[in-house]
């Protein structure tokens, strides 16, 4: 198990990152920190996905004459789309947080 984990170091790292993000989401009371946690989780998953698509010695998926070996383009496309989705969710989270902040401050005033 250890040896396998070692060769899959990126996966292990991304899992650990994921858990760190999860901890922030679960334990931090601050809304902004929760959002940051969510982003850490997201990034961890992107790392994971990119790792899955890797191929040793593969070139970036940009077809050029003479090169036969490319890395898998599909995870990259997936990450690109998930990134945009991530932007959307983060933005919405910020919108709600900002509005909530406004409401609570408004009541204090």
């Amino acid at each position: 198990m250890l040896k396998a984990s070692f060769s899959n170091l990126i996966y292990v790292v991304s899992m650990i990152l994921f858990l760190i993000g999860f901890y922030a989401v679960a334990m931090r009371p601050s809304l902004i920190k929760k959002i940051i946690g969510i982003n850490i989780m997201e990034t961890a998953i992107f790392l994971f996905l990119i790792g899955i698509g890797n191929k040793k010695g593969g070139a970036s998926p940009l077809v050029v004459e003479g090169i036969e070996k490319y890395v898998n383009p599909f995870p990259q496309a997936m990450v690109l789309m998930a990134l945009v989705v991530g932007v959307g969710t983060t933005a919405l989270a910020l919108i709600l947080a900002v509005r909530l902040f406004e409401c609570e401050n408004g009541e204090k005033r």
Partner: protein, 236 residues
């Protein structure tokens, strides 16, 4: 107590995930299922079938363009939510005149650079076919231009320059483009969002270009709009 439970839970989940990770195929193995199965066609036939040398663009704009449609909708939904919850910003609404006028150095440089930025954004968007880049990337550059403009010349000035009325069409451009292209492909007798419905290969490239540009414009303008809306609350 809660902390303890969460940490125990996380450790358990972590061990579980690590176990799974250790059972996964070795990273970068050329024979692993991910590299063996689906990718062969993307790499072997991608450029001929889609006209994109950039395989990532080929996937997001042709093989899985339906996903991209969903994804640009996500941006639009976020924008709608922002409008519903926070409301559209208005120029001069509760304006307090800028206390610090922009430094002439910064503003002059920005005025010189902004056209280049915009050109660069379009370049990235259009060139997504053949090289690194793509609609979203270009769009984000565009958005950053709009954001920088607001930072340098002040929020009100930016809102006055790019009022909501002008942005509104761009915001909805990409989803509408996708649906229109989808309808066209259905009318042409193929399935939804098939870009290859015409035998003329240039037409396919033209459609891809249109989608690429609309993606860029929409994501850029929508992200900028989100920024403006959030910024509005901050200054109130």
């Amino acid at each position: 107590m809660k902390k303890f439970i969460v940490i125990v839970l996380l450790v358990l989940v972590g061990l579980f995930l690590l176990l799974a990770v250790s059972k996964m195929p070795i990273m970068g193995d050329p024979d692993s299922p991910t590299n063996a199965i689906a990718t062969s066609r993307y790499i072997a036939k991608g450029p001929q079938e889609t006209g994109c040398n950039n395989l990532v663009s080929a996937i997001i704009l042709n093989y899985r363009v339906y996903d991209t449609f969903g994804e640009i909708t996500v941006i639009f939904v976020t924008l709608t939510a922002a409008l519903a919850i926070l409301g559209r910003e208005k120029a001069g609404e509760g304006v307090s005149p800028l206390k610090v006028s922009p430094s002439p150095l910064v503003s002059t440089i920005m005025i010189i650079y902004i056209p280049f930025f915009i050109v660069f954004a379009f370049y990235v968007a259009i060139h997504g076919f053949n090289s690194i880049g793509g609609g979203f990337q270009g769009g984000v550059i565009l958005a950053s231009v709009l954001v920088i403009y607001a930072l340098v010349f002040g929020y009100d000035e930016a809102v006055r320059k790019f009022p909501p009325k002008r942005r509104i069409l761009f915001e909805g451009l990409a989803p509408l483009c996708f649906v229109v292209v989808g309808f066209m492909s259905i009318l042409a007798g193929t399935n939804f969002l098939n870009l290859n419905f015409s035998s003329v290969s240039h037409f396919r490239n033209f459609l891809t270009l249109i989608l690429e540009i609309s993606l860029g414009l929409t994501s850029g303008v929508a992200i900028a709009s989100l920024f403006y809306i959030l910024k509005k609350v901050e200054r109130e």
